[in-house]
């Protein structure tokens, strides 16, 4: 006991702090960091199936010569550049509309817009596929309205297929982002809006001068999350279009899956491509933080 008495209060607190930290640290290290390190090692190996050997940076060089991987990178960036801004803008508009104090049935509207988020990724992708089929609902409506003569095969045209995926993504994720904005809007004093209205500010002036600046941290968060999610897009590519027509809609994650499980298994190459996505996410998030966060 004599020993322990020599410890000062802060030392004691330090020790118990570390004891509380240890279990979580050990778990994260074993479950997350160890596999990550193994994945880095794997990404430097190459070969067919079980016969893999060290190959240095070959896999990383290889992916830039891989026409299909480059195509998937291009596709993913098209989704990112077109879909994310539209989605965030929609989410912001919806959130500011639904934040109106005088609006009735607010809860109902909010639930309805958030509801797509509760559907499974696979099932909504399959539903969109059947909606846009040649004899699907969309075509039936267009034909009956006299806009088209016969059903148009949306998913067989590269441009149309990408649009369908973007529409599907908008439907699935806009409500999700809206909820973040709604939460952010609760922290903005209503009196600021009232003051603005008394001063005669229009709706868009309020949006531009009050809502967006005050929501900036939230917008930054959703932008980073959406970027991250889009770069890892998988279900829509697999289930809605199967990557087709002619790889026009294949995403990076879909191609990584193919190269591990559909094609001759090359886990080293797959691991390398996965790390490339990680680097992309990190770089894009850093840029967004630098651009968006002006606190300092």
């Amino acid at each position: 006991m004599g020993n322990k008495k020599k410890l000062s209060l802060s030392q004691k607190q330090n020790i118990s702090g570390w004891i509380f930290l240890t279990p979580a640290t050990v778990l994260i290290a074993v479950m997350s960091f160890y596999p990550m390190i193994r994945a880095i090692i794997l990404s430097m190996q190459s070969g067919v199936g079980a016969k893999i050997s060290f190959a240095g940076l070959t896999n990383y060089k290889r992916m830039f010569a891989d026409a299909i991987f480059m195509q998937s990178l291009k596709n993913t960036f098209i989704y990112l550049i077109v879909q994310v801004p539209i989605m965030l803008l929609f989410a912001l508009l919806l959130a500011s509309l639904l934040n109106d104090k005088h609006l009735r049935f607010k809860g109902l509207f909010r639930t309805c817009i958030f509801l797509p988020c509760a559907t499974s990724l696979v099932s909504y992708a399959i539903i969109f596929r059947s909606l846009f089929a040649v004899d699907g609902y969309i075509n039936t409506v267009l034909v009956n309205l006299g806009i088209l003569h016969t059903g148009y095969n949306f998913l067989s045209n590269p441009f149309a297929a990408r649009i369908v995926i973007i529409i599907a993504l908008l439907w699935r994720w806009t409500g999700y982002n809206m909820v973040f904005y709604l939460a952010g809007l609760q922290n903005i004093e209503y009196s600021i809006y009232e003051a603005a209205k008394i001063d005669g500010a229009t709706y868009f002036q309020i949006l531009r001068k009050i809502t967006i600046p005050l929501l900036k941290p939230m917008i930054l968060l959703t932008a980073i999350m959406s970027t991250n999610g889009t770069l890892q897009l998988f279900d829509e590519s697999v289930n809605l279009t199967s990557g087709g027509p002619a790889n026009a809609t294949i995403t990076m994650s879909h191609y990584i899956y193919n190269s591990s499980f559909k094609y001759v298994p090359n886990f080293g190459y797959s691991a390398a491509m996965s790390f490339f996505i990680l680097i992309l996410v990190a770089v894009l998030a850093t840029i967004q933080m630098k651009v968006g966060d002006k606190r300092d």
Partner: protein, 442 residues
């Protein structure tokens, strides 16, 4: 102080419990089904574990095989674990890369198209069946056997038949003034000519296919004995006259309206069941889906597929899909597994008679001669469909699947899509060759 020690102890106990829980949980979940089956199998030398995926089809066949085998081996037990193909492939990859074969069953079913790929990737997993001398492989249809024969060694026991049939709606053909005989032993030019006529008179195309899939092109290719790879396993695409002709035929089929393209499998089945099309061409397992439309009974007939005139062997027979049984080389009960397969799937006409009603057609030729195979099937207008198919199977040319089959097939499918959109055939073939070469690391 005591309280503190106690709380530290409790926290420690909680962590250990958690870690142990995780460890235990992991073991139980990775093996999921296997923890249970291995418990039963490990203790018992007479129980085999099998992975396959279709309860109405191959699982049923395995259970029937167990019944046949049990007559001579009363102690024998079979533990069939339903494992969807995608899961089986994932588990095989994981076990193969880890080098731990104990997580795999004694016998597993392998898609024919994936057989080479998996054998080359994980050679330690597949037992050499030629070496066992338990099988007479000459009794199998050669076109089918080639899928599971790698470098002259047999690694699989052929199971279901993927022989290609052309099925037509006789009532629709009649409206246009044709019979099935007019569509038997013809070539693709004649097929398109008749198809245009049928389309003009009845408004129904003869064929529907899945866009983004190369099934019909691969079927045409095999009907001439050609492959996407040569004997050495190198891609055989640029300068492959058969492939070029097959792609041109595909384009003609689409442009003439004789073939319509749909986006997924369900839509493909729907086109047949809702009378959007007057026929189809696919592996004979498609009959199960055709027969799902009970109101169309008696309106269908089966015949051989059109041939590709001018190149190769020019037959009217081909193969699409199918699977073969493989034995785990690391299994402790390998000998039992081999004996079981040899006495059932490679040695029992009774088994094949029993599983015929489920649509499992034998590729083991002696089975095709039994009475059950001579049955007249009412759905197909009283045709002796089963014996017809066994005959087709024996005439199907061999095909060299190659290790990089899926890469090549996807590349051909992409090329076909581009060719329909107007791309030049030769430059597309060049792209396919480049894609496959790249995948092979050349």
């Amino acid at each position: 102080m005591k309280k503190k020690i106690l709380s530290v102890l409790m926290a420690g106990a909680l962590c250990t419990g958690l870690l142990a829980g995780c460890g235990g949980g992991k073991e139980a979940s990775t093996s999921g089904s296997q923890a249970a089956d291995n418990a039963a199998t490990a203790a018992d030398d007479n129980t085999l574990t099998v992975w396959c995926w279709d309860p109405a089809f191959n699982i049923n066949a395995m259970n029937e095989a167990a019944k046949v085998y049990q007559k001579d081996h009363p102690d024998f037990k079979l533990n069939v674990v339903e494992t969807p193909w995608a899961d089986l492939q994932t588990k095989l990859n994981t076990a193969g890369v880890a080098g731990d074969l104990s997580t795999l069953p004694d016998i597993f079913l392998m898609q024919d198209n994936a057989f080479w790929k998996n054998q080359i990737s994980f050679p330690d997993v597949f037992a050499n069946l030629t070496e066992t001398k338990a099988f007479d492989f000459t009794q199998f249809a050669p076109g089918k056997l080639a899928y599971s024969t790698v470098n002259g060694v047999n690694y699989g026991v052929p199971f279901d038949n993927g022989t290609v049939i052309a099925a037509y709606r006789t009532d629709i053909l009649e409206q246009a003034g044709y019979t099935v005989a007019d569509l038997t032993d013809i070539d693709w030019d004649k097929y398109i000519e008749i198809g245009k006529d049928v389309l003009a008179k009845t408004g129904k195309p003869l064929l529907s296919c899945q866009a983004n899939e190369a099934d019909i092109i691969m079927i045409i290719l095999q009907s001439t004995g050609a492959s996407l790879f040569d004997d050495k396993g190198d891609p055989n695409i640029v300068g492959n006259e058969t492939l070029k002709k097959a792609l041109e035929t595909y384009k003609k089929l689409k442009e003439s309206g004789v073939m319509i393209l749909v986006n997924d499998w369900d839509q493909y089945i729907t086109t047949m069941n809702t009378e959007t099309v007057a026929g189809t061409i696919n592996g004979c397992w498609i009959m199960g889906s055709i027969r799902a439309a009970k109101d169309q009974s008696g309106k269908w007939a089966v015949t051989n597929l059109p041939k590709l005139a001018g190149v190769g062997e020019q037959t009217n027979y081909s193969n699409n899909g199918g699977s073969s049984w493989a034995v785990n080389a690391g299994s402790k009960k390998k000998d039992l597994a081999v004996d079981f397969l040899a006495k059932t799937f490679a040695g029992s006409t009774e088994l094949y008679d029993n599983i015929l009603p489920s649509g499992a057609l034998a590729t083991w030729l002696p089975a095709g001669g039994t009475e059950a195979y001579a049955e007249k099937v009412e759905f197909f207008g009283g045709q002796q469909v089963y014996s017809l198919l066994t005959d087709f199977a024996s005439k199907t040319p061999k095909n060299n699947t190659g290790v990089y089959y899926y890469e090549a097939r996807d590349a051909v499918a992409a090329a076909a899509t581009n060719i329909i959109a107007g791309a030049d055939v030769d430059s597309e073939l060049k792209t396919v060759q480049d894609t496959v070469n790249f995948a092979m690391g050349k």
